[in-house]
Amino acid sequence: MNAPAATASPSSLRLVMTLAIAGLLSGIAIIGIYESTLPTITANKARELREAVFKVLPGVTQMQALVYRDDALVVVPEPDKDEPVVYGGYDDAGQFIGYAVPAAGPGFQDTIALLYGYQPAEQRVVGMEVLESRETPGLGDKIYKDMDFVGEFKALTIEPEIVAVKKGTKTADNQVDAITGATISAKAVVRIINEAHAEWSDRYPAPGSEPGLEASEPADTGGEQ
């Protein structure tokens, strides 16, 4: 910029101003689109989560987020980001049914994120839903497309742990028939649930003393604790 400017060359100020104005206008446009789509996006995400929770816990019609703080599971209307959370599921009368636990871990190609339903009274897994995965189309994606496999998780004893066995050789309540051609993905699902369960099993209160359902859902933001 110290070199003598060519006659036709615009001043540095003009260059800076052009970029600044372009950046400003672009920023305004982006804020506008962000603000106008945010409600829809949040609503979509919340609806997806509710649907998944209701799917993995049969009979559940109401839910609330629970986090583990100070050695107890407490109800938090809006958990902090990155804080591990489980969802308590309740029936119409507000009676506790089970936990929906989000879990994630490495699959065959990329992280598999899933949600499973757990009933502490019977120590059973009662449902499993894959939320996110990039498993091989046609093979690994059977972990959510193959209804036989997904069905395996509808009544499964989780103690001492779930074991994936070769298809057709299931003999005990804690065994899952793996998928032919997608053993790694199927085993990954089982491992993810086992690991999440190992992490959470000590944190659940004794069956029967689960946190009760707080009065209303999203509208209520009164900080409990």
């Binding site: 615009p10 260059l15 052009t18 970029l19 672009s26 446009a29 982006i30 689109i33 189309p137 046609g138």
Partner: protein, 214 residues
């Protein structure tokens, strides 16, 4: 004459200068997200919106933007449109957005778009620039769709998720995996070039015949 000119700018992008088949630009989304027709079309429409929007703005402001900072300005304009497309898809069709993943933000780096700004929109009046962008973008959508349709039909036995064949059809899974993208693109490019060559030969023959008859 004017009418013909803008029609010409529109049509060249669809066939003669097709961004994929003739210029071989935008290969990254071309290979990555064409494993089903719906993904291909969604990606095509997002690119369409970004290309037409940026061409319009770049061409309108072509005399205001100093030459020294033009590329930065183009990128700011393109990135803004990409962000708008990103959020709109996320709000309206979250499922498709999830499938396309990182490839929507990557439209910014699609050389087809920056290429059209530098080579055309920044040099020609708005009307021609928009016609050019419409043509190029349509050509890109057509190319993505033809790849996506072939791969979904062979790899999944379906088109837009509707099963075309009976229960006995064994899907050719490799077609929806990455190698299928390369194979299909190779075959389509082969066909395009073969057709082009035949057409040139034919035109040469016609020219010869006309000269001979005189």
């Amino acid at each position: 004459m004017k009418e013909n000119l803008s029609r010409e700018e529109f049509l060249k992008g669809i066939w003669r200068d097709n961004p994929v088949f003739a210029q071989v630009l935008g290969m990254c989304p071309m290979l990555a997200v064409t494993n089903s027709a719906i993904n291909a079309v969604a990606m095509g429409m997002a690119t369409f919106f970004v290309l037409v929007g940026s061409s319009f703005l770049v061409s309108t402001f072509r005399n205001v933007i100093p030459k020294q900072v033009r590329i930065s300005c183009f990128i700011i304009i393109i990135a803004t449109f990409v962000t708008i497309a990103d959020y709109t898809l996320l709000a309206l069709v979250p499922k498709v957005h999830k499938e396309l993943g990182a490839f929507i933000p990557l439209i910014v780096a699609n050389c087809l778009i920056l290429g059209r700004q530098e080579a055309f929109a920044s040099r020609y009046p708005t009307k021609l620039a928009v016609m050019d962008a419409l043509g190029m973008a349509t050509g890109f959508v057509v190319a993505l769709f033809s790849l996506g349709a072939v791969r979904e039909i062979l790899g999944d036995g379906a088109l837009f998720g509707i099963k075309l064949f009976g229960e006995n059809f064994e899907p050719w899974i490799i077609m929806i995996l990455p190698p299928g993208g390369f194979l299909t693109l190779g075959v389509i490019l082969l066909f395009f070039n073969w057709f082009q060559q035949k057409k040139d030969e034919f035109l040469a023959d016609v020219a010869d015949a006309e000269r001979g008859s005189r």
